[in-house]
Symmetry: C2
Subunit: 377 residues, 2 copies
């Protein structure tokens, strides 16, 4: 029987920190609830509730939703047919389905270091061996990746190439081509986790990796552009993998909520999601600027922080041998929270790192939070 001593996820434990109302939290990765399009979603829900959407439904997903998502991906530069899509219960489920269908205990997964911790946990739960590949401000290092491929023979490369969690970094176009050359050379499958790319606050879009190679599985979600409570995500996968993924999805939950799928399909069709995303971007841009600007004034000499073009996160490295977990404990005494970066490492963690999310606070709240943080630093 599998050990029951599995530790609970750091994300989960940290969510507890943010529940005290007096805490200004940079710890979450939540969209701003005041920006949810409540009226648009209410109208969609009202139209979507029918006898059909209350009944069992196909495992692959609602036909209308697959069409809407395929059209949106295609319009954004990733040509997609509805039958290349599997609708999932959030993109977290897509991640688990890919892991279950493609990996087995002992399989090797390569990841950029640092990376999304729920992905790391997913790989560990599957008994996979995770190998860290270093990166820099331009994203994962293709030369280091080639060495890892040579040495460790990974079966999967997991990346958040655009506005990465936790660093906010984007893999640039040149590096994308190099990463794909390495992948193509060895037949390495790539899992492109893409929850944030619509949240761009400056610069031009970089094409999805999946647009250039059939080795790429692409994960998307309604959680960041719409609402996460509905748990609607999607997986765009090569045709030959789809049967195994569908069987795995069927065992997982038969299908994603037919009602929620219909709500999202209706919303994508009837609402102006582009206008909504522009509103999100305008607000989040201000909040990013507030965080990045305020940090500049309080971070000690020698600290490094990212200034992301989009997404939800700023990544900070404090100078010297500071442990950010100790900083967090003291920060919580001053009612401010963030996530120590160590949890995002597959290999030896850099304990002087911190992840700060800027999406849920108004600029003045962000500035007050950073002021409190400055007292600790």
């Amino acid at each position: 029987m599998r050990s029951l001593s599995v530790p609970s996820s750091p994300v989960r434990d940290l969510l507890a920190l943010t529940s005290r109302p007096e805490v200004i939290s940079f710890a979450g990765g939540l969209p701003a609830p005041e920006l949810f399009d409540l009226d648009g979603l209410r109208a969609a829900a009202d139209r979507a509730l029918t006898r059909r959407t209350l009944q069992y439904a196909p495992t692959e997903g609602d036909a209308d939703l697959r069409e809407q998502v395929a059209a949106r991906l295609t319009a954004r530069g990733l040509p997609t047919r509805p039958d290349e899509l599997l609708i999932t219960t959030g993109s977290q489920q897509a991640l688990t389905l890919v892991v279950t269908a493609l990996l087995e205990p002992g399989s090797v997964v390569a990841v950029e270091e640092p990376t999304y911790l729920a992905a790391l946990q997913c790989f560990h739960l599957a008994g996979a061996r995770v190998v860290a590949v270093p990166g820099d401000e331009r994203g994962i290092d293709p030369v280091a990746l080639a060495e890892v491929v040579e040495r460790d023979r990974p079966e999967l490369l997991y990346l958040v190439p655009t506005f990465a969690n936790p660093t906010g970094r984007t893999l640039d176009a040149e590096r994308r081509a190099e990463v794909l050359r390495v992948a193509e050379r060895s037949g390495l499958r790539v899992l492109e986790d893409d929850p944030y790319s619509e949240l761009r606050y400056r610069g031009d879009a970089v094409p999805a990796l999946a647009a250039s190679s059939d080795l790429v599985l692409h994960l998307g979600t309604f959680s960041k552009i719409g609402a996460p409570g509905l748990r609607v995500g999607w997986l765009r996968a090569p045709e030959e993998l789809m049967p195994a993924l569908v069987v795995t999805k069927q065992a997982a939950d038969l299908h994603t909520s037919a009602f929620d799928q219909a709500v999202v399909a209706d919303y994508l069709r009837e609402s102006d999601l582009d206008a909504h995303v522009r509103r999100l971007c305008a607000t989040y841009r201000e909040r990013r600027d507030a965080l990045v600007g305020a940090l500049a004034a309080v971070l000690p000499e020698g600290a490094v922080r990212t200034d992301p073009d989009g997404g939800m996160f700023v990544w900070v490295r404090l100078p010297g041998e500071v442990d950010a977990a100790v900083v967090l404990r003291r920060a919580l005494e001053r009612d401010v929270a963030f996530v120590p970066g160590a949890s995002f490492y597959a290999g030896e963690p850099d304990r002087a790192t911190m992840r700060l999310s800027f999406t849920t606070g108004a600029p003045e709240v962000i500035r007050e939070g950073v002021r409190r943080l400055g007292e600790v630093l």
Copy 2:
């Protein structure tokens, strides 16, 4: 890398049979859509859509829903605290979570023969070895179970003890006590899958196995009493298993749709679900009677069929060496469908068996379907 030749589930392939409108289908396991409480659910959905229910939510489930479900289980004779419950994306997910958290490749699972085929598939996907235990009209045979426990040392016993899928049989109270004695003697955990027990058309309720032993994990669902499209189920588990189950659930999909959970919580609180279940039972009782009565007139001498006290299924064994798959092919030519029983066997299948669901047809449609079936038989 895991083989991608996993066969698609028989349930799935068979659902395709039922889509031609001229087919009278006994093949499904669907609730009758015309009985969905559309108005009640619409009112609940309207109240449930808020900024809170559009946001990320706790993995364990909505606090209000856990309270409502705990109260309902307690009122039905299974004393339950909210913190003993994990809300899942349908009870199919609960099944997969239990399998993932408790079993590993090579683990042995004992099942009543025949049993729910999606459970069998779940166990096979996990690499478990499934051992069949025979039963009769009173349910699984405790003596045969004791022999299997002695010989194969299973880690889990999976049962649908009330109105079983596919047979419609119920494990009687005396046998329940015997099964639990066998389990307690060897520390065998029992997974009690209980989707149907509220759909009782005659006789008195039999207490849930989970009411008598801490070795029992209990699965329930809103799918059969409410609506399956919402994908809301629950797992009642012993305290010491909960941490591992929650971590597994988090990796699976972070949490079940917060919106759907709020819809169901509101519905359980504000609607008269007992009255709705009485309406379901009145209609399904008529449909069961129509099927059982009509079959009596067309089944050949020597055929055996169940006459279930509740649930959704009648189980037939044809006399002699008939293959029900051949019967199905001929039945489809006459626009009538059912599920050949062979898929429900973990061991050597009895190919002369058939599962017929009576929930989705009006009595006159059921009688016409059985008449067509009679032409084939």
